[in-house]
Symmetry: C2
Amino acid sequence: MAEHTVTSFDDDLAHISRLVGAMADLAGTMVGDATRALIESDTGLAQRVVSDDVVMDARQRELDNRAITLIAKRQPMADDLRAVVGAIRMAGDLERIGDLAKNIAKRVGAVGQGSMSRDLSHSIDAMAQLVLIQVKGVVEEYSAGDTAALARLRNDDERIDVKYTSVFRELLTYMMEDPRNITACTHLLFCAKNLERIGDHVTNIAENAYYVLTGEQLPAARPKTDETAMPAPAA
Amino acid sequence: MAEHTVTSFDDDLAHISRLVGAMADLAGTMVGDATRALIESDTGLAQRVVSDDVVMDARQRELDNRAITLIAKRQPMADDLRAVVGAIRMAGDLERIGDLAKNIAKRVGAVGQGSMSRDLSHSIDAMAQLVLIQVKGVVEEYSAGDTAALARLRNDDERIDVKYTSVFRELLTYMMEDPRNITACTHLLFCAKNLERIGDHVTNIAENAYYVLTGEQLPAARPKTDETAMPAPAA
């Protein structure tokens, strides 16, 4: 009887882990599609991202309910409790990533066609690719139990922040050059900021995954700063 | 013995509720201070908001730990479980509100002194006051168990969205009028967007509070749209 209970707990936990994996896959797809929709002005693809977010939200609710029921029913202790709570937190960050991808997708129409210079779309795409690597990597490293890779991945978020700062400055320059760029560039600013925030959520996931795997916090969390919010350079 | 257990559960739950209340008070203070710091270019006050966020994060961690321990130890069912999970979710939204207030505060330096016209600071202040009423109201209505007020409050978020759209357009106009406004206005755009997002978190809290109190979802959730992300008006 005791064994049956243990097995059943493991089954429940495995199911929850699969849900986290499915949410992570969906998050990667959504971020990739949202960026492509933005760069290629593909409103159909943008619409698909918006629909995907409904699926994402439903998965998070399912995971939350299962995890809470599991805790209430089985009273897991120490490592097991940490794993379940970790899954709830990772799901929360993945859901937020889906939200941010959706927000990028919803701006595709507002940015409009042909308003992005080749240089600018290249910069945004490069930033998005960095973000995408992080999103896809974090759950893979967690599944593989690679704590060193998780620590590296957390630190790599800095590269996204550097890229964001440069995209931000580039966008300001376009706006100053020609007021007709202002509306589209404003929406692109929000898109770039959303990509940067997706990076922050990946950081949270990496920290949570590390904690679940080791029972310890990653040392000396990198301070998250948005450098563009420092005192303004002369306009 | 059974009675002792029951009392102790109630004590634990009351403690958790007090923590939610404390987080809500702090969230209100942070939103109020961040806005005042922005309008008055008060970098000292902005710094206080940044420090407050550390307290906010600590409170959320404490609440999370207590709530999870309570679920694991006491296996609450139905109403009780709903109350604990509701507290975890409300704390999550309050923590995000603190984060957004901090992000507004961190832009105070970048917006700079004297760069805001009287009209503009009036518009932003009016939006912030709407948000502040919502933040302060939602936990009060929850504590009072006033479900009708929670439903009203959820619907009032629409007024914030309308205000955000008008501030957004006003900021674009300033940017188009004079390129020297672009840098400061860009930061103000992010601040206004953060206020709008604070409103969305209040909506989440209202929905959670309603669910905890009634066991039912609020009917027909108002679709959250950012109207500024619709196809762009001619620049």
